[in-house]
């Protein structure tokens, strides 16, 4: 028996897609090592019986429900440690995202377990689970094997596909958790604040994305002009660095804590291509990158790369596309 425990994040009554991906993956892999997949949820009254049972559709047979403050990792570590301690799960699996990293790492410390992060593939081998993670800027894959009673697997965002079946319903088990003192030392003051205008990038066929290489907030005018030249269904997106710096709205952010997109054309201007960004756009149909640094990682996964100064290229490209459209 090798059961898998996953954590399912929720917000305003909706379950997180990456968490459900972890449940689907956990259920598929657990069945290969003779176990079941369970899920743990933590929150308030919005965790209705119905919402918890619905995780069964993704393959969980049991859902452990704990009452507590949402959005912080340490209460969840307390809850998962208790459930694993009583039940004896062999693996804990997370779908990526900020909380998954924090919970997985803290749980590794608490349970003296091995942990692998950024996992993109899991397979069963001799009754055990083995995790694969890309390393060194995704240039190599490393294989992790676990020693001890518990192995912790933190997936890369979007690595696991959500697979819903009709009519699956999980058994809901309420758990009483006594939270540790240090978990109570952090309190959420405000959660999920949206900064900047509300823009829609998920429906766009063409995205012109800007990063720090745009140089200053006004640099986004070049990106907006180019998107305007494409017309129709084109929009402007941004990296986390420039959103955190206040250059562009949060709603336009691509990547790990932002949106995941797969437009027909993704034109990256002044974006180096950090992995946290890549995971949000790598399934775009066509990727064009403009960057002055020939060694920027983005050139390794773009279909067309231009090494040059975007301040020179973008205005001329905008004019050329306008001319082409007019012809």
């Amino acid at each position: 028996m090798a059961d898998v425990l996953t954590y399912v994040l929720h917000y305003e009554g909706k379950l997180n897609k990456n968490s459900l991906g972890a449940v689907s993956e956990g259920a598929a892999r657990a069945s290969e090592v003779g176990g079941e997949c369970h899920a743990l949820v933590l929150g308030g009254d919005d965790l209705s019986d119905e919402l918890c049972q619905s995780i069964g559709a993704y393959g969980a047979t049991k859902v452990f429900r704990a009452k507590g403050a949402e959005g912080l990792a340490q209460p969840i570590i307390d809850a998962m440690a208790k459930v694993i301690g009583e039940h004896g799960h062999s693996y804990a699996l997370f779908g990526g995202g900020l909380l998954g990293f924090e919970i997985g790492a803290g749980l590794a410390a608490r349970m003296r377990a091995g942990v692998t992060m950024e996992v993109t593939g899991i397979r069963a081998e001799d009754g055990k689970l083995v995790a694969e993670r890309p390393i060194l800027g995704d240039s190599k894959i490393s294989v992790s094997r676990y020693k001890g009673d518990l192995g912790i697997i933190i997936g890369r965002i979007n690595a696991f596909e959500t697979v819903a079946k009709d009519g699956g319903s999980a058994e809901v088990v309420d758990v009483d958790v006594e939270y540790s003192d240090w978990s109570n030392q952090a309190t959420m003051v405000q959660r999920g604040e949206q900064r900047g205008a509300d823009v829609d990038i998920e429906g766009a066929d063409i995205l012109v994305a800007g990063g720090r290489g745009l140089g200053k907030p006004e640099g986004f005018e070049l990106a907006e002009a180019l998107a305007g030249a494409f017309g129709g269904n084109a929009a402007v997106a941004a990296t986390r660095a420039v959103v955190d710096a206040g250059w562009y709205p949060y709603a336009a952010q691509i990547g790990q804590t932002g949106k995941t997109v797969s437009p027909k054309l993704y034109l990256a201007a002044g974006i180096s291509g950090a992995i946290q960004h890549k995971v949000g756009m790598q399934s775009s149909e066509n990727i064009v990158a403009i960057n002055k640094d020939a060694n920027a990682p983005i050139f390794e996964f773009s279909d067309l790369g231009i090494v040059g100064d975007l301040n020179k290229i973008l205005p001329k490209l905008t004019e050329a596309i306008k001319a082409k459209k007019g012809s």
Partner: protein, 263 residues
Amino acid sequence: MKICVLVKEVPDAAVEKRIDPSTGRLDRSGEKNLNPYDTHAIEAAMQIREGGAVEVDEIVAVTMGPESAVRALHKAVSLGADRSLHLSDAALAGSDVAATGYALSKALEKEQPDLVLLGQQSDDGECYTIGAVVADHLKMPSLTQVIQLDVQDGGLRCERQAEYGYDTVQVSLPAVISVGDAINEPRYPSLKAIMGARKKPLETVATGDVGIDASEVGEEGSRVQCGEFHDPEAKAAGQIIEDEDTDETVEKIVAWLDERKLI
């Protein structure tokens, strides 16, 4: 208040990183430098000191690593730390992230800090998680990826971007905070600070000095075994254009887009 900043020596950004086939570990030979993400943590400590909302008695740079890691400590001191602590022991080689976090937490226990700061990730291991491991061993609250940090209401008011937008969290001390690189622009060290860094106190300790259980660290004590390094599925290499004549470059881009019916 006493602040400890965790720092790490990493291969210089210009050095191509590779796995040493004989050891199965990252080849850490070649030029090294202070992990660039750590400079933001030191800067955050300096800004707390200079902010005046709380009296900072001491900023201590702490690292774990081989002898060469003292250079990262010197750099940290030149950026503002008052002294440094170097945990160095052959028994620690090959420790995974959980074992490294445990070892660092034992070194920190000796220092009894009110606040532990660190950068959001190391430039080489890309694990993002050491802070959360250290915090659980120290029984302290922890937040990662913090981009705004203020002393307020007897604790810290922290902001960060999480799954659904920006979160604001109040944390009481002692605590472990990992900062994102958007939190500040680290200052450059003055020539005087660089010259003076070697004269600041630097203490070196081994596992036994800080009560580390040797069976919990190193390759043997690690609970993940990594290996079988292989290449990912190759993606067809894209076309690269070096922009020399911008008109010509733009013409090529337009033709490329047009061919794929993207205009």
